[in-house]
Amino acid sequence: MPVMPDFELLRPDSAEAAVALHASRPASRYLAGGTDLLPNLRRGLADTATVIDLGGIAELAGIRVDADRVHIGAGTTLAALAAHPGIAAELPALAQAALAVAGPTHRESATLGGNLCLDTRCRYYNQSTPWREANHYCMKLEGDVCRVAPKSKRCYAAFSGDVAPALLALDAEVDIVGTNGRRTLALAEFYHDDGMRWLALDRGELLAAVRVPLAPGWSSGYEKLRIRGAIDFPLSGVAVALARDGERLAGLRIACTGVSSRPERIEGLDALVGQPLDDAALAQLEKLVLRGIQAMETTTASVPYRRKATPILARRLVTRLWTEAA
């Protein structure tokens, strides 16, 4: 790894203080678990003079299960999330997704908020400065051209967090703190389809918590395609939440990761609701998933492979949840 650049390190004790510090420093970055930010700093991917450590902020910690929803502080580690019995029982997609991130040591420090805000990734971006120089840079940093789509005006770096699709399928919302106070967004509105500006956060805004509604009668799960079983970003990840009423589908939400610049909620699935989940419905589902993703040459596996594999993952998971719900 290249040398870590110098920066000022601050450790505020409240979300408001953190936001104020961020506003007062021009090139400042929030640090939670550091598993994404620190390698990027070493690679020279972030121009950072100040790092604001969020580890001292009490309100970012903790998981609370209420009657109708679960409240999760953004500073909750992925290990804690995966190990929480209430989440494993009520929101299996979330627990499975948290457990699918990186390896055990990463999950001990990586946080929910960090995984939701994960920088978009691309084989032309997540490289050292000498590598990027030798390979002529890219639009996301120091270059003019998106190397995976040279004719486009936007960057196609892929969002690769595992947890976001699970929370999208579970219909979560997020609490945000900014200099102008607090606001709540549906998680689906938290992301833009743009590799360079993928988060709907205003400058200095901080993700504080995630709230997930409890939906009795629904089941959920997460499936991840990767080359190896640990420390591997998804070639494609699919989360499904599904409700079954006898022989009919009572509800279905699917979200994908690794195959677009944002985690994608798949549109048009309502047409399948109220119908039996037969071969025709599954074929339709595969079509909708394929239509909803935009895999690009951002990783070492090819575009056609990831485009073909994502609907297959979705179908496999939907079929499993449907069968288990019988």
Binding site: K308, I312, L313
Partner: protein, 786 residues
């Protein structure tokens, strides 16, 4: 060992075959070990290297003026400082280049007070390049109009090898069945956890001390000297603990002379240590090759001939990689009873990264081909592959066409043991029958074997080892040996052997094996040789010491030395095991008497093997061994994912010495082979490595490690220490084709170019199920080509 508790004291307990922990394990597990990467010397400067970052170019101009002037910079060197200092087998390499021949060519080097300053200085060096058309495959390099990479090697031709035996035309005519395939083993790299690192320091007499990770400290001096223009005798090599080598430290690579050149220029110690990205780019690879192999047999399943026409991607310079045909031809001619052989190999210079040696050295690539063709032929003959293998397996005493003498050959026993333990024949039939049945997940089982040298390989003038053993007044033993420890566990083996012979506790044995000015010569860690060679050397030295001690004790006790033995820290009587006198007392009495005697013995052991020779017809190793792997897998036929459910291993180990070390070597070797088979792949596009990081270079992780069922076959090698053979390379060699054969059993597809990635497997399965023009309606995984 249950008997020993109740046995009479006259039956000596043996340590051979016990589980003994590596002496350095506690320090390594707790983080106390000080690797070379951790070392800091007083006054030490940090060296950094400027890499070309382009595959083929003329250097028009270099301006180092600004870098030289940066405060804290002590030296800046470029190609003009080393123009005539060529090194490497064929003297085609220099530490700093005057022309760019591959992406990681070292163009300039800086020594500075800190790494930060050195990095800034690199940014200040201005280089103007004129890019040249490149050569990115051996086929392209062999073309008549190909760009020339080295003026001295016209046609881009590097090393070439040939071996012929028997009448090929007659053998072909007698062959009722022939398989003919092209295999393309790819580039992978060692991924040592400790990145490449060297610290160099010159004294004012011109003597160089170099702290480095080398695994061959003595010949290393000979190879390093020409890169510096000094005498090999003026080099002292010190080997601090190494964070992995696996063959990658069996040659001199440019960072080492660069550290030394900077040290000479500045008069201060200089450390050069690669980052992980630099390690990926600039450390050697496994040799990539294109192997055109043909194997024939009769309708009864008797092998008739095997030919291999091999084209090697030499890369930009010549290290050990292009010499692998020496082993490739042994497998081509000796993997099963092959009466007629025709082998030829040509290495072609390209602008790709260049290969060094890597655990399995050439045999990983060859067995990938031979073991798959054995499986294909068995199917064509229409017999169980196990039966086909048994029919062609050599027995003890047979000699291969290259004169490898298989004195103790346990191939049949390995095959039968592994097949029985895994229920191979029944499962293979059952899975093959289900291949085309409906269902997404398919199970498969595959058998592969190989042969490898297991007692060194005499490719140098000597394959021997020097050992010095001394004992102090407290019966503590120091073994000063040429055997390098690079993680393979020779420290535990030597300790165990000394304890076995001299009856001292394991923890009373100290090893000194890391300083070329202290320890005697050894050829280095390679060719699965260290336990065999150093084990013999240690045993011989220990037995000399024992004879000296027992003679002295016999005089003191007025007994005959033949009636005495050393056990549990005492001299004992053989007949009843009674302890007669403490060993340390004997040693003190020997030492402090009128005619003092100190126990310090020397030994040089040379194995009974023949030099390789230019004709390659020689019994070049003191032993040969076989291993059989049977892999059981589950394939997701839609995504192409392969899950390895279980691997059964039966390996001829000669005799188990340290059971724990043996298990660890087989598990670790298999992990390297699994990565090779399934996921590891250097993505080199037009000479540029695109995945120089662990994120995109898919080294396997713990979840991919399958349960292993290990069976050690003890063939009792007459020449090996206690009957042991070398064991460490076969586990890496055999696993990939075992999985390939299992994939065929499960799905009917074969992959010829590893790794068997999900993408390739999915594409192959789709193409098998829906051949072009078949009108298949569901092109689910069509067109997954990269």
């Amino acid at each position: 060992m249950q008997e020993t508790a109740t046995a009479s004291p006259t039956v000596k307990e043996t340590l051979i075959g016990q589980r003994v922990r590596k002496p350095d394990a506690p320090d390594k597990a707790t983080g106390k070990t000080r690797y070379i990467n951790d070392m800091v010397l007083p006054q030490m400067l940090i060296g950094k290297v400027l890499f070309a970052g382009r595959p083929h170019a003329r250097i028009v101009r270099i301006d180092t003026g600004a870098a030289q002037k940066l405060p804290g910079v002590h030296a800046v060197l470029t190609g003009k400082d080393v123009a005539e200092l060529r090194f490497g087998f064929v003297r085609d390499n220099v530490a700093l280049k005057d022309k760019v021949r591959c992406e990681h060519d070292e163009i300039a080097a800086v020594a500075a007070e800190t790494e930060e300053i050195a990095c800034r200085a690199l940014e200040l060096i201005e280089v103007e390049y004129e890019d040249l058309p490149g050569v990115f495959s051996p086929e392209a390099g062999a073309r008549e109009d190909a760009p020339q990479i080295h003026d001295r090697f016209p046609g881009n031709k590097s090393l070439a090898f040939e071996f012929r035996h028997g009448d090929l035309a007659a053998a072909e005519a007698a062959s009722e069945l022939i398989v003919d395939n092209v295999f393309r083993p790819h580039h992978v790299t060692h991924c040592c956890m400790g990145t490449s690192c060297a610290i160099a320091d010159f004294d004012h007499n011109g003597k160089l001390t170099i702290w480095t990770q080398t695994q061959y400290p003595y010949n290393y001096k000979m190879d390093l000297a020409p890169a510096l223009g000094i005498h090999p005798g003026d080099i002292r090599v010190i080997q601090p603990p190494v964070g992995g080598a696996f063959g990658s430290k069996l040659d001199v690579y440019p960072y080492e002379p660069i550290a030394a050149l900077l040290a000479r220029k500045t008069g201060r110690p200089v450390k050069v240590m690669y980052s992980r990205e630099e390690e990926f780019k600039a450390s050697p690879t496994r040799q990539a090759a294109i192997i055109h192999m043909r194997t024939g047999c009769t309708r009864d399943g008797v092998l008739t001939f095997r030919t291999a026409d091999v084209l090697l991607d030499n890369g930009a310079y010549t290290s050990w990689g292009p010499t692998i045909p020496v082993i490739m031809m042994r497998t081509t001619s000796g993997h099963y009873r092959v009466p007629v052989v025709d082998f030829k190999a040509q290495a072609i210079y390209t602008n790709n990264p260049y290969a060094g040696s890597f655990r399995g050295y050439g045999n990983v690539q060859t067995t990938w081909a031979t073991a798959q063709q054995m499986d294909m032929l068995a199917e064509m003959v229409d017999i169980d592959p196990l039966e086909f293998h048994l029919k062609n397996a050599q027995r003890s005493g047979e000699v291969t066409p290259q004169r490898s003498f298989l004195r103790e050959c346990a191939l049949v026993e390995c095959l039968e043991t592994a097949a029985t333990a895994s229920d191979y024949s029944r499962k293979r039939k059952e899975y093959a029958a289900l291949r085309d049945a409906p269902g997404r997940y398919k199970k498969g089982i595959g058998l592969a074997s190989s042969i490898h040298n297991a007692g060194g390989a005499k490719i140098h003038k000597s394959d021997g080892i020097g050992t010095i053993l001394k004992m102090d007044d407290y019966a503590r033993v120091t073994v000063i040996t040429g055997a390098s420890e690079i993680g393979q566990g020779i420290d535990a083996v030597i300790t165990l052997i000394v304890a076995e012979e001299l009856g001292v506790p394991l923890e009373h044995v100290t090893l000194v094996n890391n300083d070329s000015d202290v320890a005697p010569w050894d050829v280095g860690v390679h060719a699965s040789r260290t336990t065999f060679i150093a084990g013999n050397g240690t045993r011989r030295a220990a037995r000399k010491a024992k004879a000296q001690i027992l003679n002295a004790a016999a005089k003191m006790l007025e007994e005959s030395p033949e009636d005495l033995d050393l056990r549990a820290g005492s001299v004992v009587r053989n007949t009843d095991g009674a302890a007669l006198i403490k060993l340390e007392r004997v040693l003190r009495q020997m030492h402090f008497q009128a005619e003092p005697e100190l126990v310090m013995v020397t030994d040089y052991y040379e194995p009974k093997s023949e030099p390789e020779g230019a004709a390659h017809v020689s019994d070049h190793s003191a032993a040969y061994s076989h291993a059989v792997h049977i892999a059981e897998i589950t394939v997701d036929t839609l995504t192409g994912e392969i899950k390895v459910d279980k691997v059964t291993v039966a390996q001829d180990v000669g005799r188990v010495i340290n059971r724990m070390g043996l298990e660890g070597q087989i598990e670790g070797g298999l992990a390297i082979g699994l990565g090779y088979a399934l996921s590891e792949d250097m993505r080199i596009e037009n000479g540029m490595l695109k995945n120089a990081c662990f994120r995109d270079y898919k080294l396997i992780t713990a979840p991919e490690m399958p349960p292993l069922d290990l069976h050690f076959i003890e063939s009792h090698c007459a020449e090996g220490p206690y009957g042991a053979k070398g064991i460490s390379e076969l586990p890496t060699i055999v696993i990939a084709p075992a999985i390939a054969n299992a994939l065929y059993n499960a799905t009917g597809v074969r992959i010829f170019d590893p790794p068997m990635s999900p993408e390739k497997v999915a594409r192959a399965i789709f193409e098998r199920c829906a051949p072009a023009g078949s009108g298949a309606v569901e092109p689910r995984l069509a067109g997954t080509a990269a």
